[in-house]
Amino acid sequence: MSTIRKNPILRIAPPYDDALIRYIEKGFSDRLGYGVQFDVREDPSLLCGFIAYIRGTVYDVSGKTQLAGVSAYLIDAMNAPRPAPEPLEQEDA
């Protein structure tokens, strides 16, 4: 049986430093009510932001996911019926 990861994991896009990690850990500790100490993994594919895996829940605030969300939102908006554009005003000759 493979080892189950129990420690919270933080996938984060560079650049980052220890102070930023401590700040994120404190934010989660305050919100969740227990101490959180991350196993940090750098992940440039996230573009910016981070993804935290804590006790069976994912907190995803990465740029990659947000862009995917914008993309899906725009595709839905494009596919939805919308009024035809009004013609531009003709300039006087």
């Binding site: 990861r5 895996y53 829940t57 994912v58 907190y59 969300g69 914008v70 494009m78 919308r82 554009p85």
Partner: protein, 506 residues
């Protein structure tokens, strides 16, 4: 989307700016589990404790899985597509939704997979989805099967008639024409307002392509949907295929429309389910199938129904196909499905190789409820046909050994041979109700009695052409009412006599 002018470009730019402004950036929070093991498309996941049975899981690289096993610490899931990116340690995300399929009129004419992804190269935009697993209509929601569903095949419409809302099994060895019968039934629904769904379960991709091509060629794709999983798809995809097709059919049925659905075939479906069950370490029963294999098919086939007028009066006619080995209909899966359905059409390889197409074995075929839905015209004339053919088949066995037979038996064999010839139909040849009634009346009227067997096929079509031109009013009346009164019988018999006279004179 093509942008044709500056006006459109400016409008699109403004529209996108506006929409981006509207978009609310917020964190994405969801439950996750970690893959413990992945083998043969079946994975075990630790975590995801609130997961539901049948929920869709998402992995990286757009890989999806279907939850099929829940236990205290782990869940078992089957992968729906390539497992190349799923390894121990991979994160699995619960989507919170059970497996569903896109439904609606935009799916008609399309070829899709069980997840609703188009397989015919064109984009598919649908707004409505429906879970693939649903409860079958309750007793109170159902109405008796009373309306016929014409297959255009004389042997079926006259001897094993199918009603709208009926479940009629097509069973036989490989290469005996099971799929051809189903496709003929689909082809014959042109102009009848029946939506047809063909579910290809674990078939060769080339076979499915050939079927789609045949449906397109005959113009049947205009009212048909193909839900396909190929032999190279995962067992879970093959397992989902008939349920996805059924969900689409239910959508139309609940709108008050009539649907014909073909499951081709449930033997492969049972094998796919057995594969998944064994990999999920469920206890194996008879022929290594899991204990719930009967329930798997009964809950699928019970969804076929004729709904009551209060529920819209729609219907779902089901034609499941089962392949037998060596003509053995008493093996596990065939007996299960025979007991669930409302009858079966048994195709015999002996008859097939003897040139009888469709190779329907009348003795082993039955329609338990179809006769109440049969057109009165066909029921009245063809009532004794089934018995006569069964008797002929018994007598023919003696005759083939060259045994001397009495005059009565010889007459029966002579008549039986002609009946069998008249029942022969080409693969893409379907008959209207009126044409079927005329042929049955011609048999009763002994039109083919003096003809050599080799000529019967051509004479059959010549007779139909003659009757069509001689008494079009009678044929129109049969088509409209499905009934045949004494006056029309007399008119048709007169036309047949005239046809024979003309033929003898010529």
């Amino acid at each position: 989307m093509s942008i044709r002018s500056d006006v459109e470009r400016a409008a699109l730019s403004a529209f996108l700016h506006e929409k981006v402004g509207e978009y609310k950036f917020q964190p994405s929070i969801y439950r996750y589990g970690i893959v413990q093991s992945a083998k043969d498309d079946v994975i075990t996941i630790h975590g995801l404790s609130g997961c539901r049975y049948g929920e869709i899981l998402q992995f990286d690289h757009d890989v999806y899985g279907l939850v099929l096993d829940l236990s205290m610490d782990t869940i078992g899931a089957a992968l729906l597509n390539s497992d190349a990116f799923v390894a121990a340690g991979t994160i699995a995300r619960g989507t919170g939704r059970v497996a569903d399929i896109c439904v609606g009129d935009s799916v008609i004419g399309r070829v899709i997979d069980p997840l609703g992804r188009p397989l015919d190269g064109a984009p598919l935009s649908t707004v409505e989805t429906r879970p693939v697993e649903n409860r079958a209509p309750s007793i109170i929601d159902r109405a008796p099967v009373k309306r016929p569903l014409e297959t255009g095949i004389l042997a079926i419409d006259s001897m094993v008639p199918i009603g709208r809302g009926q479940r009629e099994l097509i069973i036989g060895d490989r290469q005996t024409g099971k799929t051809s019968i189903a496709l003929s039934a689909i082809r014959n629904q042109r102009g009848n307002g029946v939506i047809c769904i063909y579910c290809a379960i674990g078939q060769k991709a080339a076979t499915t392509a050939r079927i789609v091509h045949a449906l397109r060629e005959s113009g049947s794709m205009e009212y048909s949907i193909v839900v396909a999983s190929s032999a190279s798809d995962s067992a879970a995809m093959q397992y989902l295929t008939p349920f996805a097709g059924c969900a689409i059919a239910e959508h139309f049925m609940e709108q008050g429309r009539d649907v014909l659905i073909v499951y081709d075939d449930l033997s492969k479906h049972a094998i796919a389910y057995r594969t998944m069950s064994l990999l999920l370490r469920r206890p194996a029963g008879r022929e290594a199938y899991p204990g719930d294999i009967f329930y798997l098919h009964s809950r699928l086939l019970e969804r076929g129904a004729q709904l009551s007028p209060a529920r819209g009066g729609g219907s779902m006619t089901v034609l499941p196909i089962v392949e037998t080995v060596g003509g053995d209909i008493s093996s596990y899966i065939p007996t299960n499905i025979i007991s669930i359905t409302d009858g079966q059409i048994y195709l015999s390889s002996d008859l097939f190789f003897a040139g009888q197409r469709p190779a329907i074995n009348v003795g082993l075929s039955v329609s338990r409820i179809g006769s109440s839905a049969q057109h009165p015209a066909i029921k009245w004339i063809g009532g004794r046909l089934r018995l006569s053919i069964a008797q002929y088949r018994e007598l023919a066995v003696f005759a083939q050994f060259g045994a001397e037979v009495d005059a009565t038996t010889a007459k029966q064999i002579h008549r039986g041979e002609r009946m069998m010839e008249v029942l022969k139909q080409g693969q893409e040849e379907t008959l209207s109700v009126a044409s079927e009634a005329v042929l049955l009346l011609a048999l009763a009227h002994n039109v083919f009695w003096d003809l050599p067997l080799s000529e019967i096929r051509s004479v059959k079509y010549a007779l139909l052409d003659f009757v069509r031109s001689a008494c079009p009013g009678s044929l129109r009346a049969i088509e409209a009412t499905g009934e045949l009164n004494q006056e029309e019988i007399a008119t048709l018999k007169k036309a047949m006599d005239a046809f024979l006279e003309g033929r003898n004179a010529g």
